[in-house]
Point group: C2
Chain length 346, copies 2
DNA sequence: CTCTCTTCCGAAAGCGCTTTCGGGCGCAAG
DNA sequence: CTTGCGCCCGAAAGCGCTTTCGGAAGAGAG
């Protein structure tokens, strides 16, 4: 539709082997060649071997377009992200690549940039390209509107769950991540644990806080003050740390809602003469290397296992394409990466 | 080839309109419908209108697979990246998306993870999918081996240039970026400018340093000490800043090879009682928001215009596909983003 | 030796679309 | 009223592959 009326023909390129070449070389018909290469059970082993050898000699690669035509399949999936920076999309993409297996399927990556209209447009473009399925990645863990139940292909939501429980969503376990953080601090012998988090409008902030609170409660320990919600920035981490250290000088650990916040907290603690981790243990979430490594000391952080989220989403999508759809919200556990900002009380 | 022997058929899905439906509804033949929709000049305007209306009523989207079969075109391009974190790929991807125009072409994204073997594999997979062209994105600006001259489709290298001058490469102007940085500091009235950079194994480090040195020389100013090469880390920035302030207490500006280094430098300067920017102006490269914003004060940084690199690469690829290939290395100018870590001497 | 089954292979029919090519029609010129 | 010429349109031939279906060849039973 969008082709120029009379475009010049592309420059001459070396021709590629096609199935008919393979068949001729192997001395069989097209049909037999196709069956042999696709592992259909109607060819003698010896014939199959001959065909395969011919294919290899010609460096034959089947044209997936032509292959998909009769089957209605294309061997491609669409990855629709709303995440500008690729902070979450990239690990998920890599996980998906792993799960599908290199070369088996190809991934179309589209960035909707958080714009619903653009998203709709991309969905149409992807469907037009006859993708076999769609993975939708959000930029935050808050539930998002479903693309709708009547798409012609299966959809899996990753990171941000769909509001529609009939859809399948794969998300990190934020509550569990919060529990994990506190459990580690308790294991380090800390007992006076405060919590500085980010924007309370984010489900991730609230759920991590819930998990942390629950773990403290399980241990019979009171939290140190309320959870301080603010923004996902170092500046907020610095400010909040100042307040905390003034009000609760006896605290011995601070859970931070993100690595950014943790950096600010660590910095302020050090400037106030508190040693990290000896006096105060600090940890963050996300395990964003650029932040955790640059910090003094390097930050312990809860890794949300985004690659695993991607891998699971890809596997689920694959299953759905094969006719085994699931639905509901499935969570992927988090993982603690211990660095120097936490350590046992000596 | 890699299909399971006898897979189950996918679940029933709503059928989509095909060209024959449109033709029937419009009361014309397939051929006419096709020509009408593709703007061929062999249909009466009135007939064309009728066909288009029928297509819209049926929400007809041509099947790009079938469309590409005769033409040998697929309307897809491959984006092959070696950049784990997507630090450079994502902006380039977005630029490419912009340049192609949403929906006109789709982008296959593959991550080779810096592995030549995996790269080769992905190239094969992409060629197998009959992409119309390839954009290869490197993870650093050092020249990289060419994919070879005899690929069946045009290739454009972005960020990392190809070693083969017959290829087309679109890269940021590292030398110009270095000049830009120093020019800004000079405009701020600084005259004793030191330079802390990253790993000297990186062309980006050397070229930025060259540009900076050239700009100083143009102004008739001597550099303050040698360029301190090290690594791309905050820790190195802190260490280097300590050395610099000891040896050259009179310096009034420090150019840093990256935002990470700049953060370390700023931190150490502040701890040593030097005010930034009043006593010492500091700037970095890359304009990585997460780093520039969290710093105290926020960092001035040279933005390499990666989106523009991507857009240019995409346009060049498009031209090559249309039969207008270019070759050689083309640079994209950088852009200064001024924040609080630099300011005129009062 | 004939008949029935298997096993293996090939002819042919699509999949949805584009494009070539030839023919019908209407018009102006002869 | 005939030619000739253009303008539109449709029939049909692919593009490269998969799949159905029927037939040929060989094996075993009667």
């Amino acid at each position: 539709m969008a082709q120029p009326p009379d475009r010049p023909s592309p420059p001459a390129r070396p021709p590629v082997a096609k199935l008919s070449d393979v068949a001729r070389l192997a001395g069989v018909s097209l049909a037999t060649a196709s069956k042999a290469l696709n592992g259909r059970s109607q060819v003698r082993a010896e014939t199959r071997a001959r065909v395969i050898e011919a294919a290899e000699r010609l460096a034959f690669h089947p044209n997936p377009l032509a292959r998909g035509l009769p089957a209605g399949r294309t061997g491609t999936v669409g990855l629709l992200t709303g995440d500008l920076e690729g902070r979450f999309s990239i690990p998920i993409l890599m996980g998906a690549e792993d799960a599908f297996g290199v070369g088996r399927v190809a991934v179309f990556l589209c960035d909707a940039r958080g714009d619903a209209l653009r998203e709709q447009h991309h969905v149409q473009a992807l469907l037009g390209r006859r993708v076999d399925g769609l993975i939708v990645v959000g930029s935050r863990t808050d539930p998002r509107p479903s693309l709708g139940p009547d798409l012609p292909v299966p959809v899996v939501y990753a990171y941000a769950p769909s509001l529609d429980p009939a859809d399948l969503s794969i998300v990190p376990d934020s509550v569990g991540a919060g529990r994990l953080a506190v459990a580690h601090l308790l294991a380090c012998g800390r007992s006076r644990v405060a919590h500085v988090s980010g924007d309370p409008g984010y489900a991730a902030a609230r759920e991590r806080a819930d998990g942390a609170a629950a773990a403290l409660a399980d241990a019979g320990l009171p939290p140190v003050g309320e959870v301080l919600f603010g923004s996902w920035s170092e500046g907020w981490g610095r400010a909040a740390a100042g307040m905390l250290l003034d009000r609760h000088p006896a605290l011995d650990a601070i859970v931070c809602g993100s690595d950014q916040i943790a950096r600010g907290v660590v910095e302020t603690a050090r400037e106030r003469g508190r040693r990290v981790p000896e006096d105060v243990a600090v940890l963050g979430f996300d395990n964003w290397e650029i932040l955790t490594q640059g910090s003094r000391p390097p930050l312990t952080s809860v890794d949300l296992n985004l690659e695993q989220v991607g891998r699971t989403a890809a596997q689920a999508l694959f299953a759905a394409i094969e006719g085994q759809p699931r639905s509901g919200v499935e969570t992927v556990p988090s993982r603690l990466v211990i660095r120097e900002s936490t350590a046992p009380l000596s």
